[in-house]
Amino acid sequence: MAASIATAKSAKQPKNSRLADFKLAFTGLRRGETIAGYLFLLPNFAGFVVFMLFPILFAFYIMLTDWSLAKEPEFIGFKNFETMVKDRLFWKSLVNSFYYTFVAVPTGIFIAFWLALALNRKMRGIIFFRTVYFLPQITLTVAAATIWRWIYQPEIGMINHLLEMIGIDGPKWIHNTQWAMPAVIIMSNWQGIGFAMLILLAGLQGIPEEYYEASAIDGASSWQRMRFVTLPMLSPAIFFVVVTSLIGAFQAFDQFYVLTEGGPAHATTPLTLYIFQNAFRFFKMGYGAALAAVLFVIILIITIAQWHLARRWVYGFEDDG
């Protein structure tokens, strides 16, 4: 992406010549190309303006209003944000979002890393295993959560039956405030690991064989090979997986809606679900939009922080990209 931004940057020009350029674009031989360019872009750009750019700007207005859709919006300034500070459920859902994200993402990436390492061996049937691990990823979350909801049933579910076979009295999973979030995390990781695994596997396959040969000649142990060859060479892929997984985890919605419906006692209500409930169950459009803005800012801050931290641990990371 860095390269594309660099090519997109046009060279700085004085104002007059830019205007002249603009005029030139509509005369002579270049006229056809200019018009063709705009026409080719038009269907896409129209959709972009109407369904993305406009809603973003509109969101800034909505979050400053009290609006139930039944009557006209009332402009109330930053009142929604004042309400938020005192809203116990907002804080609860914020904590839940962080709990979910910062447990699910590291555990998921940890497991994906070992799976990718195992799949990177030269053995037969690797593609078969890769496909199997990836299947949950493309299954719709609603269906996956439905299956797991049934698996988690305390009395008749499969998990507690399996646990019973080895002599463990299983918890009530999604019906218990302590266990509901771990249950969602297990299900989400089962579903989502394929993505991280695939990226890490591609990263591993991109490490030149010579590096390992050289380290073998130097007498490096397998731990040293991991520490000084694999991990540094894989760090850009790990970085990428961390950033996209964090962004994705903060936006997770479907599994919470289907698996636990946010319960019991709001134990699994993340910000996304709370935004949805406020906007489309209680019809507080203004408050919902304000909550969405907070979620967006959190995602933005965490992403920017990742880019800054990356300089310390990602191999060959350049900050000016």
Partner: protein
């Protein structure tokens, strides 16, 4: 003699170690594989049981009697036939629309020179990762103003364009050698004919990647349809599947839900297995699951 056998032994040992590690890795991969497959197998197995079989404890993996009627029952109750049609219409329209708008715009960004091009492209890139949750409330209000609430166009039209897909197209088209186009232009092809006859055929792999991604994402789309599609007759499959569990009743009809889940999942599994090559490459090169 002793040293020879020692050398032989160590060589033998090395090979043996490799085989042993391989076996160990296979064992681990298989166990993990079973964990990944088990919920699917459980879903299919239960889709053939009756309500008594479902609530039997301890659970039986293989149904005592196979009830194929669950599928017809799940299909006919709660508008599943209509839901299938709705999902198919939405997925087909969005796939065709995105491939069309993204490839056209991708070509404009990659090849044609016009004022403002690079600025617009930067705008696209910067909004590529925008969370949908930020858009959903204003978009809902907008759909309401258009009178599109509970209509299929509300889940089609806003998704006919894609910043991510446009970006991918542009990146792919930049790599196509210019000479091919120049030859066509010299032969008197217009811009649209050049795009249609030269560029599109060369872009097939990228188009396939975009199409499969978009299909899977659209078929699985849940949050936005949940918000905008209220009436039963316009609901898509994921909505119907989710609403099955929330029906009030004595006992949740898990056998029907599992049958329903099975045939909601199947089209995506087929799309994935057919297009796995393109899907995997799409993830590896662009690293994006796509926005729901």
């Amino acid at each position: 003699m002793a040293t020879a056998s020692a050398i032989k032994g160590s060589l033998f040992g090395q090979k043996q170690t490799k085989i042993l590690t391989d076996l160990l890795v296979y064992a681990v991969l298989s166990i993990v594989g079973i964990i990944f497959i088990l919920p699917f197998a459980w879903m299919v197995a239960n889709s053939f049981k009756d309500i008594r079989g479902i609530y039997t404890y301890p659970p039986e993996f293989i149904p005592e009697v196979w009830h194929f009627s669950n599928y017809t029952e799940a299909w006919t109750t709660t508008y599943f036939d209509l839901g299938f049609l709705n999902s198919a219409i939405v997925a087909a329209s969005v796939v065709l629309g995105q491939v069309f708008t993204a490839s056209l715009a991708g070509y404009a960004f990659a090849r044609l020179r016009f004022p403002g091009r690079d600025k617009i492209f930067l705008l696209y890139i910067s909004l590529m990762m925008l969370p949908f949750i930020v858009l959903m409330i204003p978009l809902y209000v907008q759909m309401r103003a258009f009178g599109w609430v509970s209509t299929l166009q509300a889940v089609i039209v806003p998704f006919l364009f894609t910043p991510w897909g446009t970006f991918m197209m542009r990146q792919f088209m930049v790599t196509i050698p210019r000479e091919l186009e120049d030859a066509a232009r010299i032969d008197g092809c217009g811009f649209f004919r050049t795009y249609w006859l030269i560029i599109l055929p060369l872009t097939k792999p990228a188009l396939a990647t975009l199409a499969i991604f978009t299909f899977v994402n659209t078929w699985n789309m849940f949050l936005w349809p949940l918000i905008i599609l209220g009436k039963p007759k316009v609901k898509t499959l994921p909505l119907l599947l989710a609403s099955l569990q929330n029906q009030s009743g004595m006992r949740t009809p898990w056998h029907l839900i599992m049958a329903a889940a099975t045939f909601v999942v199947i089209p995506v599994l087929i799309a994935f297995i057919v297009g796995q090559k393109y899907y995997v490459r799409g993830i590896v090169t662009s690293g994006i699951k796509g926005g729901g």
